[in-house]
Amino acid sequence: MALAPRTIRLHGEGDDLVIEWVDGHRSAYSYQYLRDRCPCATCLDKEPEPPSEAGPLPMFGAGKLKPLKAEIVGRYALQIFWSDGHSAGIYTFDYLRDLCPCDDCEAAGENVM
């Protein structure tokens, strides 16, 4: 059986989405990091956009990206409803674990490559 989250906190400390896994590992993802890695077909297809330049007047900006809500898909994935209106991505637990940006996982990932 693949690894599954125990809890998923949408608004963890410092605007991070925080997952506590059943094996005790803890992953903290920034919203933009996850949004940029949306696995849906549309996002995979399109060219990466340059980050929009933040103007001095915040009301003209797109607003701060955040998850409005999230749902568990079956028993294998997470669907995140982002504040920019996008929700097509189904983040499998395996994928989320692979994305874990913590130092240990990053180091482990580099060793594999």
Binding site: M1, A2, A4, P5, R6, T7, I8, R9, L10, V22, A70, E71, I72, V73, G74, R75, Y76, A77, L78, I90, F93
Partner: protein, 353 residues
């Protein structure tokens, strides 16, 4: 009046009673819930983890009574409580009253998946559980014919009231189509149908919802796996390599979707000639058991190839209903093994905070 027997002494005596299926004593298994001894009365409450067959339960009760009486406990009464239920493995807002959801799947078509699903539902019901049967094979629904009956679903207070045949609540696309019409749909319609079969049907309180899947690894399988956290999947295969190779693909799909494999059933396992009694392994034999061992998946049992299964299926009376029938016994054994797997599969669903 002799020395009064203490509850501890009774408990010690019960260590000599074994659960036949688990081959362990009932005290270590945690089945003994309560022992009360008064001057003229003893009450022992046994709580089983799975609902065993009535025969097995009465044998267990007799063994418990004997063990207690042997050390002089007065007027022993044994109560056996069976969970009407699997653990709260499936937690879905769509079907809040359903405790366990079991997908019956195969790689190839024609391995007898629907027949196995219908008979498993009947066998689980015979062992005391409340059971529903959902036919998700939208293109080729066969459950209404297998279960017989001429009832149709009715709308009651905005929900579909499923027909009940042989004590089992049933829903199938077959109820909504004239015999000579076909469903010619693309994926999104199938997805909607699966959601409606779950959310718009009045399933009520069920211990098991058995779902007959179409063959393969396509839209229906994915929709079902995404819409609810399935408790697990049962793989049906015939013994030959050709079928097993494709069954492997179904297993791979469920593993990818993080759905526990509850076990493999070998269907059309062997044929006993009704004239001479010689057993013929038409598709080979034991292939599914070997595959199960290799893949470390539980083997739930084998169902023989027998014309009686086909005849009764066509007549709408599943063989698992029969008394004193080796075929029904085969299904009851598979259902019992399945119930045990379900009771262990209770897995946790991640919490979103």
């Amino acid at each position: 009046m002799g020395k009064r027997v203490s509850p501890q002494e009774v408990l010690e005596a019960l260590r000599g009673v074994e659960d036949a299926a688990q081959r362990k004593d009932i005290v270590s298994l945690g089945y003994v819930k309560n022992v009360e001894v008064s001057s003229d009365h003893t009450v022992i409450v046994i709580e089983l983890k799975t609902s065993g067959s009535p025969k097995a339960n009465s044998q267990l009760a007799a063994a418990v009574r004997k063990a207690a009486e042997a050390i002089g406990a007065p007027k022993v009464e044994v109560e056996i409580a069976t969970p009407s239920a699997a653990p709260p493995g499936s937690q879905s807002k769509l079907i809040p009253g359903v405790k366990a959801t079991i997908a019956v799947a195969s790689g190839k078509g024609g391995v007898g998946k629907s027949t196995v699903a219908a008979n498993l539902a009947v066998a689980l019901h015979r062992q005391g559980a409340k059971v529903g049967l959902m036919d998700t094979d939208v293109y080729g629904p066969s459950v209404p014919a297998l279960m017989g009956g001429k009832q149709e679903p009715r709308i009651v207070e905005g929900k579909l009231e499923p027909p009940v045949e042989w004590g089992i609540k049933i829903i199938s696309m077959g109820y909504f189509l004239p015999q000579d019409e076909a469903v010619i749909w693309r994926g999104p319609m199938l997805h909607k149908t699966v959601q409606q079969f779950l959310g718009d049907v009045n399933w009520g309180e069920l211990d098991y919802l058995v779902m007959d899947l179409p063959p393969g690894t396509g839209d229906i399988q994915l929709s079902l796996s995404q819409t609810i956290p399935l408790t697990g999947a049962v793989i049906v295969s015939t013994p030959q390599d050709l079928a097993l190779d494709v069954a492997w693909k179904a297993i791979a799909m469920f593993r990818k979707l993080n759905i526990p494999i509850l076990g493999i059933v070998e269907n059309m396992s062997y044929y006993v000639c009704p004239h001479c009694g010689v057993r013929e392994d038409i598709f080979g034999h034991g292939g599914a058991k070997e595959a199960a061992d290799r893949l470390e998946i539980p083997f739930l049992g084998e169902i023989p190839l027998d014309p009686k299964i086909r005849i009764q299926s066509d007549a709408g009376r599943p063989v698992a209903l029969d008394l004193n029938s080796p075929l029904a016994d085969a299904y009851l054994a598979v259902a019992k093994a399945l119930a045990e797997q379900v009771s262990q599969a209770g897995e946790h669903v991640p919490q979103i905070i």
